[in-house]
Amino acid sequence: MVFRDALGRRLAPLYLSTFFGGLALWVPIEKLFMTQIGFTSASVGLMAAVYAVVVPVLEIPSGVLADRWSRRGVLILATLAVIVSVIIGGFSQSVTAYIVAAAFLGVFFALQTGTLESIVYDAVLEETGDSEAFERTMGRVRLIESAALVASALAGGLIAQFAPLRATYFLTAPLLALSAVMLLWLREPQLHRAEERDSLRGQIQATVRAVLGGGHLRAIIALTVVGALLMQGMLEFGPLWLVALLVPPFLYGPHWAGLTSALGLGAVLGARRWFTREWTVRVFAVAVVACCVLLVVSDHAVLVIGVQVALMLLVVAVSIPVTRRLHDAVPSTIRAGVASGVGTLTWLAFVPFAVVFGVVSQAAGLDRGAWLFVAIGVITALLMLFVLPRARPAVAQAGLEGAAAALPSMAIQPAFPPDRFLPPDDPAWPGHWANPPSAWAGSGLPTDSPEALEEVRSALIDLPAEARQVIVLRDVEGRSPKDVEDALGLSAERERALLHHARGQVRGRLERHFQRAEGAS
């Protein structure tokens, strides 16, 4: 309890900074403002495309800066970049000036990505001694951020109703300054956990290999990408419908608040078990296409807003089980690379999407451009039907086979390291113990302690997905070997080998844990 309070006090400046930084009053009316200063659908698309290229490229040097210099410093720089962005944005009279403002926003995003998480992670580690509270703490940061976004969406719409649109930009600047000042009170964690940042090329190679692995994995990655296109497309272009329908500025607030809260609510929806039931998936797949079609045919402002929010909700919800499928289907060795690679792929796929949407909408009207959403929506729906309703282990297995085709299959480690035995050419006792283990039961070791249980839990989580599935089904859930073989489509030998590997890894962790405990006492 004391620890948690200490952590709360430690991170209070960060919480406050996040809140003030999240109050972006200009966001809901941005597209309306851009239209006023001369943007067309085509130039909005072009700007989004440029943005989609710039951000992933900038992310790498900014990560190095955060690791080598100071994370708090990088966060402050990031906030300064947004201040510059909103000031330039607010003064913009032309498309060119606004694109410069957007570039500074790109700098902010690249600087901020990963930095905030690293600070939270290290602070949690320093204050509590382990990383267990990370998710909860990060959840709190995200909650504060979402609350600020929703509040500022509503406030921004209202301000725009009664004041010039530019005012929302200028009013955001002091809030951001406050956010930067708050960071000065943050005591930066000194633990510098060197983030493993894969090279862009490494990520792409890992992803390409995984994609070439074929089967379900390809479908899972495709669904991730098209889902993200719809999501990003709504955020980037959704407000253009409001511009086209000439809705009053105050409606931009609820529209943006709706899209923003759909992000949070969608995540909750997607985590429900029933969400991946076959009939549910069918209904939602039809709903995705229906939403896209309504965007083409409807010219009723409230309906369009509702449809956009619903589409966002569905796409975010779909992304939750899809991410889980992706995770299950990829061996842990390349998981991080594939995860970032898929992220990069999404950004890159957004470039042609943005350009085509912009050009078509410009030339033939928004309702023609919206057909691109329908096309992507249909692909999304088909992939949903293919990827989502499967029982989890079956999909994971299909993915594993896919990944295994491109990668050496998971090496089965012996339960005890080979150096604990005498070598095969030992004259007296080949293959017998050189360094035998000692029994735990009745040894007075705390085998029942919560710490031992926690060690087992974390060892299980660290296992490669395929071994973890087997040991969770067998030893945690207590299912029979036959059930597990059937569920995962494994041979009896493979199932036993994976289980033995997993138990061996957990055993090794426990052995080291008990040795440390003994050493400490």
């Binding site: 992304s319 991410t323 339960a415 017998h432 085998t447 945690v476 138990r503």
Partner: protein
Amino acid sequence: MTSRPQPEADLQCVEVVEGLTAYLDGAVDEGQRRRIDSHLAGCAGCSAALDQFRTTIKLSGRLTAADVSSLDPLTRDRLETTLRRPRRK
């Protein structure tokens, strides 16, 4: 430091420990099971290994599926990226 098994037991310790999961599953034939039993009876190291396996299994059994399905890093990244999107532009 350990009482070594009789050579006529014919199994090496390394074989016994790598076969423990099969042994515990009852997936070995009768002859093999008897050989393992007699090896275990004479080898403190291997019976300690068996004991460690049993403790490991018992501890895993005290967890629930929910304990080990906490939000994995990938899902977390994805969620965080998703929630951050609106600020991007």
